[in-house]
Symmetry: none
Subunit: 238 residues, 2 copies
């Protein structure tokens, strides 16, 4: 699916535009559009802040108005915390990504830092996306809002094959059995299970706690080594 | 559920600490802990950047080391993009939130801006959280990483609750520290670490494997008892 286009309406601080470009790069978003940026374009502050994301800025296009910026899009979501009197659907960031179709040219629209989107801006958008935040303190900054949307996009893209990186394989149970035999032998010799009728329950609990973390084969070998060292060396001094 | 505690290990820029506090406020996270902040504490740059989130900074506590900062926690997730040779589970941000139990005192641990978390830092954490990002450009900044984790926390809080059933409570980390001290003492006495220069790596792996299953307080007591029995009884016969 084509990554959504980020559209900033009347952005004010160049630093924020640069930070948006970085957040876009983090999540594989490629195309940035600006509508009437306050300080014109290009903007040295934006470039200073963009770090490695300069490709995005080099390809950024500037438009005079919202309608022009969204002209070729088939779906536009406006990100705003404020509830509006307009009859727009309100969706969450993850619902936004679920709704996008593969044929869509989708825009995520963000307003100016201080004032947010006007109703005129919103009138060009299909729906409002609200990022859930604390009611006491709801002001995510521009780049952070892009981080959340980009994160949801990237997550959704990966979802079908969301394999975690391969971990080392847990040891087969038979290796645990050998480990348990050694441990039980040592504990018996040490008179750890002082009350015979309690041994069954205690031993079950010990096996349970050691199995919970599922050691690898290497870790099982380490456990054997530790137990041997502890049980077979003479450290009565301790 | 209690919001997770944000723990910043050796943070460098005061501005970033302030930005973290803001991101926390956005998503209802309340408690910030710092381990050995580079520029000391309090930090005027942090306050300038925190805007409305000054309560969080006023209540921020500072610790000398990771273990002290996590002493009362029962679960700690380390946020890092880098794959490690340590045998830690790797989870996504949303999995992190799903795993938290209502009784947990949970910490989300973040490393220094440039260098990230060391293996020693990671050895105190139960799992690694990796925020999925573009492989070409994966460097989320500190506050943005907190935004993603805070967003997932807040989202999960609002979602219809399908909490996993409460398990017995995991022991706070300070109990692990005591256990590790005992084990390390016994292993030293037993000459388990035959080659001194290999000890650091071996000992990290041992802590990692024992922490993975997060013992309960009762299980920690059992471990103490077993180790004492093994190390202090005379079973040369075995």
């Amino acid at each position: 699916m084509k990554p959504p286009i980020i559209v900033l309406i009347r952005p004010q601080m160049g630093e924020n535009i640069g930070a948006v470009a970085r957040a876009m790069a983090n999540f594989g978003l490629l195309e940035l559009r600006l509508v009437a940026p306050r300080d014109g374009w290009p903007n040295p502050q934006a470039e200073a802040m963009a770090a490695g994301a300069t490709d995005i800025l080099a390809n950024t296009k500037v438009y005079d108005d919202v309608a022009a910026a969204l002209a070729d899009t088939t779906r536009a979501y406006a990100t705003t915390a404020r509830p509006r009197e307009l009859e727009k659907r309100v969706v969450t960031p993850s619902e936004t990504m679920t709704e996008m179709h593969s044929a869509d040219v989708c825009a995520l629209v963000f307003g100016p830092e201080r004032t947010g989107l006007t109703n005129e801006d919103l009138s060009w958008c299909d729906a409002i996306v609200t990022i859930p935040t604390s009611t006491d303190y709801s002001s995510l900054n521009l780049a952070q809002s892009v981080v959340v949307m980009g994160y949801e996009w990237f997550k959704q893209q990966r979802a079908p094959s969301d394999q975690p990186p391969a971990e080392s394989q847990a040891a087969p149970l038979e290796q645990y059995e050998q480990l348990f035999r050694r441990l039980e032998g040592y504990l018996d010799q040490s008179d750890f299970f002082k009350v015979p009728e309690k041994k069954i329950g205690m031993w079950l609990n010990i096996k349970t706690m050691l199995l919970r973390g599922r050691f690898t084969e290497q870790e099982i070998r380490t456990m054997h080594g530790m137990l041997r060292a502890l049980a077979e060396s003479d450290n009565q001094a301790s």
